[in-house]
């Protein structure tokens, strides 16, 4: 049986009282999703067009570099660098003395 809250001076039903926090929680969820959407599709593209940021972001995009990688094993450029360094250290000319 539904209890009215009017006895407590609130003037609303218990069902509505339960509904309001739930509705508020869902509203907050949608608000957060909207903020993320705005950040991804409005703020970030706008920042991307600024002269200071545009060159590097375009470069990363064109070269398919994963700028978010956590560890070196996730990035192809690191394997390329490793092979280059190995070859440089082992096979590049060392001068007359032959020492490093």
């Amino acid at each position: 049986m539904e209890t009215t809250i009017s006895q407590r001076g609130v003037g609303t039903s218990l069902g509505l009282r339960r509904f309001l926090p739930l509705a508020w929680r869902w509203a907050r969820l949608f608000l957060c999703i909207f903020i993320i959407w705005a950040f991804m599709f409005i703020a970030a593209p706008w920042v991307e067009k600024t002269p200071a940021v545009a060159p590097i972001i375009c470069f990363i995009d064109e070269n398919y570099i994963d700028a978010s990688a956590l560890y070196y094993t996730e990035i192809e450029e690191f394997f390329e660098a490793e092979i280059h360094m190995e070859n440089t250290m082992n096979f590049a000319p060392r001068g007359h003395s032959g020492s490093l």
Partner: protein, 332 residues
Amino acid sequence: MKNYGIGYAAWAILFGLIISNTVGTPKWVMPAVQTEYYIKTGLVLLGAEILFGKILLIGVPGIFVAWVVTPTVLISTYIFGQKVVKIPSKTLNMTISADMSVCGVSAAIATAAACRAKKEELTLAVGFSLVFTSIMMIAMPAVIKLVGMPYILGGAWMGGTIDSTGAVAAAGAFLSQRALYVAATIKMIQNVLIGVIAFGVAVYWCARVECVPGQKVRAMEIWHRFPKFVLGFITASVVFSVVYEYLGSDVSHALIDHGAIRGLSKIFRGWFFCLAFVSIGLATNFRELKKYFKGGKPFILYVCGQSFNLMLTLLMAYIMFYLVFPEITARI
């Protein structure tokens, strides 16, 4: 968003936080929120990717820039946080110091687990790392070009200071190919340091932090307190490093780098870390995070530590690549 250095770790924490702080984490999900299990399993898998042979790639300059400067900055920042900034939580202080000085998110996870930091502290450290990585990735190549710094020096500087590994590749490649090679090599050597740092922090925490002041801790007690997953992490690293060296460069590239690591451990490790970050988000209340921002102390710690890191790395890179070993620089 990946171009800004914002990857799955940030999204996993963010969506977890949003769900738990709006509609609430459903009860049926809670048994799967096993943050500690996911982090430890992910770290043991990460151990397989820590190959000690890589530290010799660029010779002595690389070791000095990555293995001397990094622990110096880590210890200095931790002491600075305790003595000057007076961060109340030692675990937060250590997690931010490691995250800032070693290699961002992966170092933060390993150190936080080794010193048993709270999930909110790890969230905070990861947040700082992501924000500063995005800024440094864009600002550093611009500064290097502006002042006309040699690209090899610039590469070494960025490799030693930009937190996130991916951002180092992006900033290095943007500067020049030689800068990329140096930056990536320095960062790779620094990445390997995670194993040593995690082990050192775990031992220090058991022997010095988690004990009564003035009381001597027995070896057996240290062993009982020691986080055992660190042993799995170190064992995986040592085994894979030995096998890597034993097989030789070409076979190792094919079997270990492209086979075991990229084909297996990297994929599973990524998923375990992703689950760990979602779990952290799902179990965190925004209000719990608020108290850590009091007085802006973590921010001050990060900014001061990173400033010191920038100065010391630049100085060491210049000394090593241009004064002590100019012939190596000439050959790169």
